[in-house]
Amino acid sequence: MESHLAYLDAGSGSLIVQALVAGTAGVVVAAKLYWRRVTSVFRRKTPAEATAAPVETATPAAATADKD
């Protein structure tokens, strides 16, 4: 999806900070983002994952955390 990439480099970190600036609801979003990142890293590092099919027993968040 190209259209959402604005002409301006918004700064990947700056986009996350914006969520934190938005108050509690934003902090929840940022926490979720980080949690998904952590669990996705964790998943990639399990030896089982290196050889076998994706593990479906990880936390629910991890199920959709394979985006980056």
Partner: protein, 474 residues
């Protein structure tokens, strides 16, 4: 193609968004819109939000016209025409309260846009300009329909060009103009972090917008914004959050006040050495010079102090526009607040050291025009009780001052303060005796006469100040 128009020239400062470009033609300001931007414009044009922003003047008056613009065939799908600005300024020429009001307007428009289903593509101080004491958002191409889950792309730019400069002044009493003038993209989070360590971390907004911003930025440096956008969306980010962030920032901006200190020039009007007769004669002379000038669309009042003569010029030149240029930021801030309270739309105060005026900046040094370039179109220049500051205070040779004046207004009104005047004496006291043997009114008038036809000359009753009106030779 309408052959009666001259070929539009691209504005050097508008190339960053390839979807839109500003052109100048015969004093008109035109904007080309690419296919996507033209679609966005149609949505914007039909919105109630835009109608409101047009009615209250917060977004530059804009209409769609039928005109071809230069570029490869098919580059521009639509052409807009904007109401021209009498004088363009950059944020390194604004006082603190001006910056605060400009930032507030930006966030206000962002909030209104979000409520109407739009967002803004950027967050740059360069998109804000002034009509007198009122800020105005000039980049109509910045609005686009919001997409679900999309953060504000302009947050970082807003921090770097508006929020951080406000923090520097409010939290450190550090004038941000020098940094802004030398870095077109504004102050970096990492720079701010170094400046705002220790207990300053606890000052309003610093922890989040500076420290957290910098560390999150460096930890995400190798991730693309596309990837992060997607992650945010998946984590439930939505435009309500952008709205909440904009609100929080607006609150912060309002907190970032700065009380101008009492400066040397702050009480000039009370401490200056004019008698009532001197003052009255000076005012009459300036009025007469303005009355004798047929074109007063743009008047520069150089070394304007509290703007007494800017006001006089605005009153005299009924339709004209006056730019009050003054080096002391505290004096400009006070003047701005007064003008704002009066709702003055025809006097624009700016901060600038005329011995070191704004240079050109950005790409090829042309993206931002130098003060000299912008001042060249002035009709009248007032330089009242200023020349001694440049000649004695800053050692600028008189012929160089004359050349400089000849690069500006067609008509000049100069008040030359004689070396014997107490004010000149004060400046001379800081320099070795005899350093300025040529500093003399006769010398100055002769040199001025080489570039200008001297229309009138009058020494004030006090005997130590001479007013000279000149018309530049073609």
């Amino acid at each position: 193609m309408t052959p009666e128009h001259t070929r539009p020239v691209a504005e050097p400062g508008s190339f960053r968004d390839p979807q839109t470009r500003v052109f100048h033609a015969d004093g008109e300001v035109l904007r080309g819109l690419g296919a996507q931007a033209a679609q966005d414009w149609k949505a914007l044009r039909d919105s109630e939000f835009f109608a409101r922003a047009q009615a209250d003047g917060t977004v530059t008056a804009t209409e769609e016209i039928d005109r071809e613009l230069p570029g490869e065939p098919g580059t521009w799908s639509a052409t807009l025409r904007h109401e021209p600005l009498p004088f363009v300024t950059y944020h390194y020429e604004w006082s603190h309260t001006m910056r605060q009001d400009a930032a507030r307007l930006h966030l206000d428009l962002l909030q209104q846009a979000l409520r109407a289903g739009f967002t803004m593509k950027d967050g740059s101080a360069y998109n804000l300009q002034w009509r007198g004491s009122r800020p105005e958002f000039i980049d109509v191409g910045s609005f686009e329909p919001a997409k679900p889950g999309e953060p504000w792309a302009g947050y970082r730019q807003f921090c770097q060009t508006l929020l951080y400069p406000l923090m520097l002044q409010a939290h450190l009493d550090l004038d941000p103009r020098a940094l802004l003038r030398s870095q077109i993209d504004g102050v970096e989070p990492a720079q701010m972090r170094r400046l705002l360590g220790g207990t300053k971390r606890l000052a309003a907004g610093v922890l989040k917008h500076v420290h957290l911003h910098d560390s999150i930025q460096s930890r995400n440096a190798d991730r693309s914004t596309g990837a992060v956008r997607e992650q945010l969306r998946d984590a439930g980010f939505n435009s309500e959050l952008v709205l909440a962030a904009a609100k929080a920032m607006a609150k912060l901006v309002t907190k970032l006040d700065w009380a101008p200190p009492a400066t040397h020039w702050g009480d000039y009007r009370e401490t200056c050495s004019y008698s009532d007769d001197d003052r009255a004669a000076k005012q009459r002379f300036v009025d007469a010079a303005l009355d004798a000038t047929d074109k007063t669309d743009l008047v520069l009042d150089l070394g304007a102090n509290d703007g007494v003569f800017s006001r006089q010029a605005a009153a005299r030149a009924k339709t004209g526009y006056v730019v009050a240029v003054e080096a002391d930021p505290a004096v400009v801030d006070t003047l701005y607040r007064q003008l704002r309270a009066e709702g003055e739309r025809r006097i624009l105060p700016i901060v600038m050291d005329l011995a070191d005026p704004s240079p050109g900046g950005g790409w090829a040094s042309h993206e931002r025009a130098s003060f000299a370039q912008r001042a060249a179109k002035a009709d009248v220049t007032l330089a009242l009780a200023l020349v001694h500051h440049l000649a004695i205070g800053r050692n600028v040779p008189l012929p160089a001052i004359v050349d400089w004046l000849a690069g500006m207004g067609h008509t000049v009104v100069v008040e030359f303060v004689h070396a014997e005047d107490p004010m000149a004496q004060r400046l001379l006291a800081n320099k070795p005796d005899g350093l300025f043997p040529d500093y003399h009114v006769e010398t100055f008038v002769r040199q001025l006469g080489e570039r200008f036809d001297i229309a009138k000359r009058e020494t004030l009753p006090g005997g130590t100040r001479t007013l000279i009106a000149g018309v530049r030779r073609a």
